[in-house]
Amino acid sequence: MTDLTRISAAELSGLLADGSVSSVEATRVHLERIAAVDGDVHAFLHVAAETALATAADVDRRRAAGDRLGPLAGVPVAIKDVLVTADMPTTAGSKILEGWMPPYDATVVRKLRESDLVPLGKTNMDEFAMGSSTEHSAYGPTHNPWDLERIPGGSGGGSAAAVAAFEAPLALGSDTGGSIRQPAAVTGSVGFKPTYGGVSRYGAIAMASSLDQVGPVARTVMDTALLHDVIAGHDQMDATSLATDWPSMAAAATAGLADGALKGVRVGVIQELAGNADGFQAGVKQRFDETLALLSAAGAEVIGVSCPNFEYSIAAYYLIHPAEASSNLARFDSVRFGLRENPADGPITSERVMSATRGAGFGPEVKRRIILGTYALSAGYYDAYYGSAQKVRTLIQRDFQAAFEKVDVLVSPSAPTTAFKIGEKIDDLLAMYINDITTIPANLAGVPGLGLPMGLAPEDGLPTGLQLMAPAMQDARLYTLGAAIEQLLEASWGHTLISQAPELRTGNTRSAEGNN
């Protein structure tokens, strides 16, 4: 019998639709997989086994009754813990929200339920999504299924590891500076950052409001597109939500499978991110160059383009992001939700309780960024830092505009290196921040970005990722080209990349809470 954890969501939905598999069976095998491997991987902060099985049974019952169900009905899905869920605790990876049960669902979670997907649980992340390795989770790191001693990327390392470890076929992520695309790269999975405003952020715990975007995570481009179709669309609860009628991303991905889908496509290679700069691993550069050669052979026109201001993107990001985060995280005030901690001595006043709570509840990276953001917004420094960073943002948008006058899509490696060892960069802030050099420009400009597997680096046998970027609103173009490139690469390998992941040890019982 088919191992239901190994097939794609598209294949699983076919089996569910024709009745050869029930959602309860599909859900149960994924829960069993989580129980077997998540003690080692630690992708999940919470697993809602009973609720998931009850949801699946309800889907099965309604399918049997002849109800018209959506294309992903009955398919299990994991949810990044930055998204609030009324029936599961939501912590955003922070002690300050330990055990918090939100009083409502995020819009994207509501949409999952309305489309009859089966939420399995909540996935681990860097605290409040601040990080590139999931090492900053207050509940312990997630481990990369390709090598458990290595990071799964971040901040959405839990969602990426969950799909890469076959614990779920689909997951939701959020991407502020690369938190969907960089984990996809280092775990051999696929992730998509939609155009800013394409997916509602209502109920996504806000970090940097002008950068945050929710998006889909999966193992194939088609599955990513199917999940994108479920969550996209206007939401009046999010003032930044775009009132756009989005085309079907799944149809766009299907179009990419046709012969000649890459013929004549103008592919721009961003010279500043092409792998020649410091910090790019040789094997990443090699796989990237080989992929470009495949694209040329398939009829694409590969053109070098320069985006000179991308050099300043990390500096701008690490001003804009902390500034906005310092403001957003002011909501953790020990009054309405979350932790309350009294000061060790002295008078018990609201202000002192708030300071004691935040001192006890926030981890080191969150404190660092809030204080940096407070500095950047201080009178006297505001123009030099935050104001200048906003100007850099304009320059980066102009670079994109100029590039997209010449090409249809921009490409780069999704991450400069393969997965590094847990602990290797935790004490080197700038080395950690540079991980996001390839992904941050898309967030600053609001354009969509797709990350997909690009092969294993020869020197360490670990996954590398390809990033595609299109002009704002052209998300569908990325699915068409992404599906075409995925097909081309898999034909050249003779298999999918994820099929090469080592078998995980099974049978070790997962503990309820992270205890690494």
């Binding site: 155009t195 660092r368 320059l395």
Partner: protein, 114 residues
């Protein structure tokens, strides 16, 4: 969102622009309402210095002729129809509160007595 300049960093004002001192970190932490231990201040000071040195790069290209961008997809006049929609009940709103008093959030004294 509010990203206007906050209070001046006085009295922890830096001796010169771009130099981060321990006193300044302590003052920023108090503005941000985060209690820090002396050890945390000692490690944060050089860390913030390192980051501030790196991000100062932005001012080299941020010339006066470049307009600032605050949002990637500028939208204006975002309205919805003015119709009542369900909101949280009192019980839902209070469900996560660390302390409550009837239908209200219970908070410690707002003013210091001294």
């Amino acid at each position: 969102m509010s990203t206007q300049p906050v209070e001046s960093t006085e009295p922890g004002e830096s001796p010169e622009p771009g130099v981060i001192t321990a006193a300044q970190v302590a003052h920023l932490a108090s503005l941000a309402r985060i209690d820090l231990t002396d050890d945390e201040i000692a490690s944060l000071t050089p860390e913030l210095q390192q980051i501030v040195d790196a991000v100062a790069l932005v001012s080299s290209v941020a010339t006066p002729d470049v307009p600032a961008t605050s949002h990637p997809m500028p939208l204006t006049n975002v309205f919805r129809d003015d119709v009542p929609v369900p909101s949280l009940t009192v019980e839902q709103a209070l469900a996560g509160a660390p302390a409550r008093d009837g239908d209200k959030f219970r908070v410690p004294a707002i003013l210091d007595e001294d």
